[in-house]
């Protein structure tokens, strides 16, 4: 933004306004600015309604995209209170000190601290930095506050924190759809001496601690401490103000430490970060406790604990910096909501810091999926991703090839070096890194990306198969004396398939979280989940079996093998777990199909798209990736559901099986809280659905007023049928 000098202005004859353009820079030396307003006025009078004056290159469509000046939603340059930051400062919008009465001064400083916290939380929630934290004139002009140690150190540490967060989020690039977040054009985000902010803060902290001690000391001892200047002039309020300021400063200090510790390589700072998180949370508690002390007005939605409007903020000052986006309407979070936001953020970060950095991939995936269930915000997700993938290694520690080897349960004889030189394996490593990054993003973005990367996994699988065949001949003719290379290929191939189905399942379940399915689509979704789950269970099973017993081969009819084998103790618990979901999804899909077949419920909603079209819309990405392997999945689906009836026992049986397996597994996972909740959910859904099933088959034909609907009261994506009389 170049600022022209006063010389560039020119006074024109007759006009009072000052024109900002130097005549010498215009078309000719002899040219002047001639007033055309009267001519335009006459022309407007002569124009017909709807007629336009324009040239040959005119394009109405392009003209529609013009920015409308003085429209508050489009014109970010509208002059509001002040023309510039400097003018605002000159007119006393941000005085230093805020007041010559030291008690009032400290009150105002606390208001600024609180408002900045609200601004910061609002920024984290997706608004631009320019309109939130940098609406503070003190932050925009950091040099001005240097005489006010308290305000200065606080502003510096806020700025440092913003800088750390911006760099973490832009490094993680989890903000694809939230790119407003990292836009910092023209903002003084970094400055000289920023690295000193912590030492400055520490010095202020020490002074305050001494002031607090001094005011708490009994009168007799006060004389000795008299040389300490109090924080402000009212002795009755001294202790409260000291405490209120201290907890705010210390929160900033510890929060800054949390962010730096979490960026340490290979998760080395996580333990220390947890200590700082605990400190942060306790300082936030103190802030809440002191709210009544500070409160002067009862206002619920204020951005400060006191309820006053803070001094030194103007969000319109640099709204022009938020270009190219037009200015956005902004509703700041209240101070209380901001504190709650930080509490949630810190708890999410604490979950990340408590993670054991498990080298086993399936445990890691389980952890991330569990973490995402808390709906963590952008910042927490960014830090998780930075922890998982560093320098192309898992946690910056385990080479990704080794992770794959471990996940594919490769025999120990295989060295990582054997794999590293293989081009396909290297590609697979990239895919896995990409997957780890994707599962850290928000649900909507994640689902879209998962759908897309499925095809990449499919391609790698085919490449592996081809490499396998050219090197070792037909897959089916394998004998017991397979070579090491062949073993590797086979193990990895099965793992890739398993992982592909895991992605497909995650893709399908995220659809429930995002509420993408309507009840009339549930039948096809559960059928699809059922099919994917079977394949997933089959792959997981054969992977584990290969390790346990390389000589023995499972039969071709995998589905039966698993179903029968569920009773077999040799089947790994992970597969049995999947089996309970297989039974449950089959049961729900068939129940919905029976409702459609017998009662004409949950049919297509309207004439606009057929069931087949919706099937394609929902599962196109899966089908492109060859999931499931049917020639035409829709026909397979129609065949599977067309004969479903309530009179058949199989639906009951599905739910009963799911319930029984879930119950049995609970003893096995007695120390895994996540799994126990999941199992409990499955059990309840199965139990309730059996009841509903009985009700429908007993009363359905007799009572036409019977209403059936589905809700997710016991599990986030397994629906429970509810039967009611209307």
């Amino acid at each position: 933004m170049a600022a022209g000098g006063t010389n560039d202005t020119e006074r024109i004859s007759g006009g009072e306004s000052i024109l900002p353009v130097n005549p010498t820079t215009s078309s000719a030396d002899q040219s002047v600015w001639a007033d055309v307003s009267p001519l335009l006025e006459l022309a407007c009078r002569d124009l017909h309604d709807g007629e336009l004056i324009h040239g040959e290159n005119f394009n109405l469509f392009a003209a529609m995209s013009a920015l409308e000046i003085m429209d508050p939603k489009m014109d970010s340059g509208m002059v509001s209170t002040y023309y510039s930051v400097d003018e605002a400062i000159e007119l006393g919008a941000a005085p230093v000190p805020l007041s010559f009465d030291r008690t009032i001064d400290i009150q105002y400083v606390i208001d600024i601290m609180d408002h900045l916290l609200a601004c910061e939380a609002t920024w984290h929630k997706g608004h631009s930095l320019a309109q939130t934290v940098f609406s503070c004139i003190y932050i925009l002009r950091p040099d001005r506050t240097s005489s006010h140690a308290l305000l200065h150190s606080y502003c510096l540490v806020v700025r440092g924190t913003c800088n750390a967060v911006v760099s973490a989020v832009s490094d993680a690039r989890t903000n694809e759809e939230e790119d407003l977040f990292t836009m910092t054009y023209g903002l003084p985000l970094k400055g000289e001496g920023d690295e000193k902010c912590l030492s400055l803060l520490q010095a202020v902290d020490e002074t305050l601690s001494r002031q607090l001690r001094a005011c708490k000391a009994p009168l007799s001892k006060r004389k000795a401490l008299e040389d300490i200047e109090p924080l402000q002039s009212n002795p009755d309020l001294e202790e409260g103000f000291c405490r209120a300021v201290l907890c705010r400063l210390r929160f900033r200090k510890h929060f800054y430490h949390v962010l730096t510790c979490m960026r340490k390589p290979q998760g080395r700072g996580l333990e220390l970060a947890r200590k700082h998180i605990a400190a942060c949370l306790s300082e936030l508690d103190s802030m809440l406790q002191l709210e009544t002390f500070l409160r002067s007005q009862t206002a619920e939605n204020e951005t400060t604990a006191s309820g006053r409007q803070p001094i030194g903020f103007d969000s319109t000052l640099n709204s022009r910096l938020s270009a190219p986006t037009p200015p956005r309407a902004l509703k700041l979070l209240s101070w209380r909501k901001a504190v709650e936001y930080f509490q949630k953020l810190l708890r999410d970060l604490n979950i990340i810091c408590s993670y054991t950095l498990d080298p086993a991939l399936d445990m890691l995936l389980h952890f991330v999926v569990g973490f995402q269930k808390m709906h963590p915000d952008l910042i927490a997700r960014a830090y998780l991703q930075l922890l998982l993938v560093q320098d192309g290694k898992l946690y910056g520690r385990d080479p990704i090839i080794a992770v794959i080897g471990k996940a594919a349960l490769l025999p120990d004889v295989v060295k990582t070096n054997d794999l590293q030189n293989n081009e396909i394996i290297a590609q697979l490593g990239q895919l896995l890194i990409n997957l780890l990054k994707v599962i850290c993003t928000n649900a909507a973005w994640q689902r879209r990306k998962l759908g897309k990367i499925l095809q990449d996994w499919q391609v790698v699988r085919m490449q592996l198969e081809m490499a396998f065949q050219t090197e070792f001949g037909d897959v089916s003719s394998t004998s017991s004396d397979e070579s090491v290379g062949m073993k590797i290929c086979n193990h990895i191939l099965i793992w890739v398939e398993e992982q592909t189905y895991w992605i497909a399942l995650r893709f399908l379940t995220l659809g429930f979280e995002l509420e993408l399915y309507s009840p009339c689509d549930y039948c096809m979704v559960y059928w699809y989940m059922y099919v994917v789950l079977i394949q997933l269970a089959e792959k997981t099973h054969s992977k584990t079996m290969r390790r346990n017993d390389n000589g023995r081969r499972k039969g071709k009819k995998k589905k039966e093998a698993i179903k029968d084998g569920a009773k077999d103790n040799q089947i790994p618990p992970g597969v049995i777990f999947l089996q309970s979901r297989i039974d449950l999804t089959e049961g729900i899909a068939m129940m919905l199909a029976a409702l459609r077949n017998e009662y004409n419920l949950f049919q297509s909603p309207g004439p606009f798209n057929s069931e087949h079209e919706r099937f394609l819309q929902h599962f196109e990405l899966l089908q492109k990736a060859g999931i499931p392997v049917y020639a035409d999945a829709y026909i397979a689906f129609k065949e599977a559901v067309s004969h479903a009836r309530f009179s058949t026992l199989s639906i009951h049986q599905c739910f009963k099986n799911a319930q029984r397996i879930a119950k049995e597994l609970r003893t096995m996972y007695s120390n895994d809280l996540d799994k126990l909740t999941e199992l409990r959910g499955i059990e309840q859904v199965a139990e309730h659905n059996v009841v509903a099933l009985n009700l429908i088959s007993r009363l359905g034909t007799l009572d036409p007023s019977l209403k059936v609907y589905f809700e997710f009261s016991h599990h986030p994506y397994f629906a429970t049928a509810v039967v009611k009389r209307s």
Binding site: M1, A2, A3, G4, G5, T6, T9, I12, G15, S17, I18, L19, P20, V21, S26, S27, A28, Q30, S31, V32, W33, A34, D35, V36, S37, P38, L39, L40, E41, L42, A43, C44, R45, D46, L47, H48, D49, E51, L52, I53, H54, G55, F58, A62, A63, S65, A66, L67, E68, I69, M70, G77, M78, V79, Y83, S84, D86, E87, R320, A323
Partner: protein, 118 residues
């Protein structure tokens, strides 16, 4: 660009001199000749926009192409100016306070003569 504009001006000059009651000499056709010329538009809040005249409707709303915004950094004048490019902008009639065209002295005279006519 400069040469082209000069040529345009002189053409306009010739036509405006021997126009009198010719049918294409009405205000509408004269404004039409201003299309693609540089306009300087001032608005209520003190800003100016300099851009190429693109379009105007009956209500007097003007669209400028490749517009640059000029704003002073102080309330008091004169003060340093700040400028930034905006591209295609629509200036509603309601907020327009002035409108000038970049032209030669001769052309200015003819524009002034129009005011006298009025």
């Amino acid at each position: 660009m400069d040469i082209e504009q000069k040529a345009e001006i002189s053409v306009g000059q010739i036509k405006s001199t021997d126009r009198k009651e010719a049918p294409n000499s009405g205000p509408v056709s004269r404004v039409k000749k201003l299309v693609s010329r540089r306009l300087l538009v001032g608005i209520k809040d003190g800003r100016f926009f300099l851009g190429t005249f693109y379009c105007m409707d009956k209500q007097g709303n003007i669209i400028l192409q490749d517009a640059v915004e000029y704003r002073s950094t102080r309330h008091s004048s004169p003060s340093p100016m700040e400028q930034r490019g905006l591209g295609l902008i629509l200036i509603p009639f309601s907020c327009r306070t002035s409108c000038h065209v970049d032209c030669s002295i001769e052309e200015q005279m003819s524009l002034l003569s129009l005011e006298k006519q009025k």
